[in-house]
Amino acid sequence: MAGQEMFALDDLARLFNVTVREDAAAGGLTVTAGTQTIVLSAGQSLASVSGRLVSLPAPPVREGRTWYVPVDFVPRALALAVGGKVELRKPSRLILVGDIRVPRIVGRIEPLGNLARLTVDVSPATPHTVTQEGTRLTVRFEADGLDAALPATTSPDFIANVRPGDGPATIAIDLGPRFSSFRTVDTPGDRGTSRLVIDVIAQTTEPQPSPSTPTPTPTPTAPQVPETPPLIDLAPAGTLRAIVIDAGHGGAEEGAKGPGGALEKQVTLSVARRLKAALESRLGLRVILTRDGDTTIGLDERAAVANNNKADLFVSLHANASPRAAISGAQVFYLSLDEYGDAAERAAHTESESLPVFGGGSRDIELILWDMAQARYIKESAALAQSVEASLRQRIPMNARAIQQAPFRVLVGANMPAVLVEMGFITNPGQEKQLQSDEFQNQIVQSLVESITRFRDAHSGSHQAGGR
């Protein structure tokens, strides 16, 4: 309308729950929001918001029985009157009301010889993960929605399509036939923005820079965005992909109980859910919970969930108990093999056997004594326990017996590095309160994310059946 985008005032009144009165005699309009009043005058590019004058790019206009105001009326005048955060995004015709996170996403695709580069500018900078699911990459943002301008593809052999993903804050990148691998890098941009670069790389006859050589770690805090930023290979062979989080006890098995009535099974589930969300969003790992509700699950079944999902790590969460109310502090356990005698020794040294296969030839098959699968991972489990303990110690009180070994039933069948974390003594009244608090639970989650990241970095490329 006359070069201006206008909103019907009645629509805004409905959206923002304000009342509009027309003062026909004065040729003006009064918009009331609670105790605040906006006065508009026909023909004037000004509005008075409870006595404070703000300028508008154009005066309000009447057409038939409807009054129209320029779109900037929303952020300049209405936002002041209704209080709270109101943000107008003209290009995408979005009005954001309240404290929701809807980052602006602008992407472009450039062909660069043997790769296609998708550059995504994110404003404001928003944490995100990039994961590969078959022939698709998914970028998940920690946001309530996306205000996305997605590019049309210019390199369909590499990137077939970029489109909104399954969730409200995800982007799906359909990969083209030449896709072989991808790498991503994040760099901070100007004024709280960030840039995500995703390179989709084709298979070459010449080897890529070897993924087994340690990639120099880029400095994410570099003040300037380099023209060709160093790229991290996010998915080299042998890194962590899946992790199983075991919320101890559940259902009929309540576990330990605090003097105030807190139940171990509730604390463990709460932390497990938080940890899952954090690991998925921050490390892009596939996280499987052994239970995501108040259900009774056998100890065998918990290890089986990890084994059947081919998880790379198993972390069992628990809360401790003692007849002594004063005892406190977290403990980290890994399996002790002494109690299992010869069976453990045999399981630890299982060698692969060569078995004939249909059609001739043979194939190496690893025969694992399922019941004792953990025996082969004791060294890695010990390293994981040390990493977890070191991170926990930074944030929460530790017990004098901080790292221990014990013949724990839930650990012995896990065919991957596995630890059991006793987060604190629920029988201690102070710790009972802590264990139920958001802050304490978040500290544990933060410690575990940090230690799992460190464990991943220390073991990347060498993660195999260890302990041999």
Binding site: G248, H249, E253, E254, G255, A256, K257, E264, G298, L299, H318, A319, N320, A321, S322, P323, R324, A326, I327, Q331, F333, D338, E339, Y340, G341, N399, A400, R401, A402, I403, Q404, Q405, A406, P407, F408, R409, V410, V412, L420, E422, F425, I426, T427
Partner: protein, 197 residues
């Protein structure tokens, strides 16, 4: 020559007498002869009074961090099976001050068998599970109070398996693997100050 033969005969006689004495006495005192090595055995009381031995039992320390051994008087048992039963009964009873019992109060001993290879099967009442506080450390202490009480005081018992209501069980409260007999474990009896592993 004759003198040397006489000395030889005397030595043989003494050895035979010793063997006879051990063979004759040992079966009557199967238990007392064993814990004597581990702890100073008390002299049997006067005839008519209940005979007792001193045994090492295991309780939770005041700070809750350890499971120290404590010398206690335990009723004398005629056979190793009987003595094992008396020791477990004493271990299930209340703890002496200032210690706390590692086993839930009211836990009963249903039966105790000793296998051919020195494994003791301790069959406890369901209270040990229903009244248990849970928690890894508490469960470790419950388990090893019983395992250590038998293996430390009766060296003939090498391993102990806990049964509940006559059945083999996975765990007491979700942690320690009880599917196999467990051997003595003294690492919980005191807290090492250094690298406590």
């Amino acid at each position: 020559m004759i003198r040397r033969m006489a000395i030889g005969a005397l030595v043989v006689l003494v050895v035979v007498a010793l063997i006879w004495a051990i063979a004759a006495i040992a079966p009557r005192l199967p238990v007392r002869s064993q814990p004597a090595a581990a702890s100073p055995a008390t002299a049997p009381a006067a005839p008519g009074a209940e005979r007792r031995i001193t045994a090492t039992l295991y309780y939770v320390s005041e700070d809750g961090l350890s499971l120290p051994g404590v010398q206690r008087e335990v009723a004398f048992g005629d056979s190793i099976g009987e003595q094992a039963r008396r020791i477990v009964e004493a271990q299930l009873a209340d703890a002496p001050r200032p210690y706390a019992s590692a086993v839930p109060a009211g836990t009963s001993l249903r039966a105790l068998f000793i296998g051919e290879r020195g494994e003791a099967f301790v069959d406890l009442g369901g209270e040990i599970r229903t009244k248990h506080s849970g928690g890894s450390l508490a469960e470790i202490f419950t388990t090893y109070a019983i395992v250590n009480a038998l293996t430390v005081n009766l060296p003939a018992i090498t391993r102990v398996q806990i049964l509940i209501d006559g059945k083999e069980v996975d765990t007491l409260a979700g942690h320690v693997d009880l599917r196999h007999p467990l051997q003595k474990n003294l690492k919980w009896t005191e807290l090492q100050t250094d690298n406590d592993k």
